[in-house]
Symmetry: none
Subunit: 215 residues, 4 copies
């Protein structure tokens, strides 16, 4: 790969600093993790957004969370068609191979992907409707959510769609036979969160009433 | 979603601690990020593995890195077929919408996905060959790499395949027209890394000789 | 300007080395910064002293810190008299135009400016009392601090005055209406540091008890 | 100062990493610098802009450059009126106390301060004309430069004014008796540079013909 460039110096400096401190302080644990393998207790599905750091929010140690991050923290419907499904592969590995106990969908406010989906579904972003738009086709997963928010007052639609991104993902998860089986056997619990990136509030979905409430 | 459960208490406790400390220390910056949007300087594609924490290694502040995480840090070939491609959507959003300057593939040692691919390609994991195996089909992306390592001595094959996961992803990236265009215009540089999770070493791919060398 | 000389060769050599390496590694990001403008998250007010390198200490990338440096890292009182106030202009630009989230006063040990102020205020440097002494008049900003340390045992006075340089600057900052407003609105946080240039320790002012403590 | 907050954690992490690496590797030199004082060979006057890092460009070690940074790298006229002049104090300290051999004015492209001055002088920024505008009053130093560029074609005016910021500062420096004396005695040389922050080019002013030329 002749296009691969060396790292910028400030990242090298930060890495060598990390190795001399955080790594050195935790070396025994890192060695153990390398030798015995990971044993995370939860899988988190979060957005790629640079403003969402689930390991920071939950003070996660190395080895605690198996984390998949994609645009808008979405899980597509179960589709075992022999094609490449990165999110479904991550869920399968977490539940079947790692046997995580929790699966957390971590949504967030001000999500660019959700805003793009809203623009697309309301006819304001024809480019996203093209077959060649990877973002548009990915956000199709959230399209059923748009129908459920389209009658709300305009300013409430995008925040409601952010909640739909979490709820539809949880619904799609239950369509995976191995997820449903683990949930019904009490080996796995599902959780839905939304993080307000500006004021820091964390909302969680209460399955008993279908509402997001502050933690 | 009646299956959504409330968070376990230890996560609630950590979150409330985070909000009283890290969030409080950074509130002004988080407010700004929420209001003005993110402007990350790099996209990182990393593995879901719980033992790989790129933000820690690089001392990254909230807002610095746009991070996609999937099994084995893979980028599939460019396939604009109107289907759902989560990784391709993330790359498209990072390069075209966020205009990141660096795109870093962050591989790691002891990767369960790579080991699975090796088992599958060497005939030791027939389950992974099933159409219904999401992990198997996802790891097909790395199958061309297996052919390049199959003649190595046995103990060298899996580590070599971990390097292939980085190199094939970089090659596939260059197949995306918008990535190639940004690289050729000098607006984007690509980087390939492998993190040894046990001893902390960071290797980087030097495009001038095609070798991974310690940073 | 007929007095302008060409750079000495060793600086030319270093620059050409920088351009071939650091610049080349970061070219995409530098181009972006030039085209889209800076968006630093913090302003740092530091001393001109050649022994204080805040970007090194904090692993800062280009674009992270907006840095003003003057003798003894001082902020004068708010004086909107239509005259030239370079420090006040820098603060105004950082807070109002760039909307930085953090404003850090970075003091240091062995500060020549602080030592000069101490000599002047204790009657040992009459030259610095002259109207024509720019250094003396600049250090007048710190004069109120001398009164607060004059009763300490002699060896403690200069170090205490170094801390006063940070605290008086923070107090003066709060006298700028736009700073106060941003702080009170939660858009800006203030920080006071002292760097021991010899042993590398970094002290930070804890507003809750008014003491400098090691980080 | 009850408003002083503790540092955000990512800065603490980077600092501890720096101390364990860069500081530890250079401890002997840092101790010497602390005990024997600084002896910089050059003073640099640079902009506060987060995109201009003179220590990086010139690979400067701790102790090499005495650096003053203000908005638009300006030196005001010599005005010994007993008022606070931070830039003049820094120049006086560098030339008279530290006896630097070089004094470098480091301008740069895309300077927000210069652009503001151009807007003000061409009547497009009445706010900057207010007595209460610290930025406006500071940029008055460059006002004489505007008259020299006002007849150029529009797109050339701001770049020309960036060059004026360097030339006027050099002229003003020669108005300081102690600078003139040091220059005429051959103890000090003056240098004028402009750094193109996007493409990395460094231009230097050639006093023999008054032109800026690439290094």
């Amino acid at each position: 790969m002749q296009n691969a460039k060396l790292l910028p110096q400030y990242l090298v400096s930060r890495y060598t600093g990390w190795r001399a401190t955080t790594f050195a302080e935790n070396q025994a644990w890192y060695t153990r993790l390398a030798e015995d393998g990971q044993r995370p207790r939860a899988m988190v599905i979060s957005c790629c957004d640079s403003r969402v750091h689930v390991t920071s929010i939950f003070g996660a140690d190395t080895g605690e969370f198996f984390i998949h991050r994609n645009i808008a923290n979405l899980v597509p419907p179960y589709t075992p068609d022999g094609k490449q499904h990165g999110t479904s592969a991550a869920v399968e590995y977490a539940v079947n191979a790692l046997k995580v106990s929790h699966l957390i969908i971590m949504g967030h406010t001000k999500c660019g992907g959700v805003a793009g989906c809203h623009a697309m579904c309301s006819g304001q972003a024809p480019d996203l409707e093209e077959d060649s738009s990877f973002v548009g086709r990915w956000m199709d997963i959230l399209r059923p959510g748009y129908d459920r928010v389209a009658d709300l007052p305009a300013p409430e639609q995008v925040p409601a769609l952010e909640r739909e991104a979490v709820m539809i993902s949880l619904e799609n998860l239950m369509g995976f036979p191995f997820v449903r089986e683990a949930v019904e056997a009490g080996r796995l619990t599902l959780h839905g969160l939304i993080h307000d990136i500006g004021d820091g509030t964390l909302f969680q979905l209460d399955g008993s009433n279908g509402k997001f409430q502050p933690v």
